[in-house]
């Protein structure tokens, strides 16, 4: 039962990654693209955690945590750059 549920969840997360990629390509303004990139980061971390559950290994959460941190820093830096024209003043 867990194997089937994980496969369904992987398909759902893959579709969600595809939708975010579509918004990343379409996005009318650059803020839409930044938001789509942030969503892609969080969904990639979720997919990695799911892969760890599938394998029964608890070492994938560190990589997922790293991806989540990189996504946060990327979003903050990009929106800071858009607002102020500079990252570190």
């Amino acid at each position: 039962m867990i194997g089937t549920a994980i496969q369904i969840a992987m398909v759902l997360l893959g579709v969600s990654l595809g939708l975010a990629t579509l918004r990343l390509l379409l996005g009318p303004d650059i803020t839409d693209r930044i938001l789509a990139l942030d969503t892609l980061y969080v969904n990639a971390a979720a997919l990695l955690v799911l892969y760890g559950v599938k394998l029964g290994a608890d070492r994938y959460y560190e990589a997922a945590l790293l991806i989540a941190m990189l996504g946060f820093v990327t979003t903050v830096v990009l929106s800071k750059f858009l607002t102020r024209g500079d990252v570190i003043e």
């Binding site: 969840a9 969600s16 938001l35 979720a46 608890d58 945590l65 946060f72 990009l78 858009l82």
Partner: protein
């Protein structure tokens, strides 16, 4: 119902619900008409999605693995702290870009009654 069956049921429901919430968030990101409405989808639904996925992972690995694995809860904690911050910064940046005369400003923003 035996103990293992109950565990499998809980983990399966949590995993599918988490992935479904992530899908709803991305669907909102794609389908909403305006940037400030688009911001709602990922910032709320995706947090809930990764939260329930990590709860499922912690429950499953605590029972199947060598011991209690509570370090998994660092990720939902981190995401729950950082997502409002990044959403607020993004909204600020978008608001800044839509001022009259700035680079991202369009005629639509002038007409729109918001």
């Amino acid at each position: 119902m035996s103990y293992m069956t109950l565990l499998e049921l809980v983990v399966s429901v949590l995993v599918v619900a988490g992935a479904g919430f992530s899908l709803i968030g991305s669907l909102g990101l794609l389908r909403m008409p305006d940037f400030f409405t688009r911001l709602h989808g990922p910032s709320k639904a995706t947090t809930l999605g990764i939260g329930s996925l990590l709860v499922a992972s912690a429950v499953y690995l605590s029972v199947r693995g060598p011991g209690l694995s509570l370090q998994e809860f660092m990720i939902p904690l981190f995401v729950a702290i950082t997502t409002p911050v990044s959403a607020q910064l993004l909204a600020k940046a978008a608001r800044h870009r839509r001022r009259p005369g700035s680079e991202g400003w369009t005629e639509d923003d002038q007409v729109r009654k918001r």
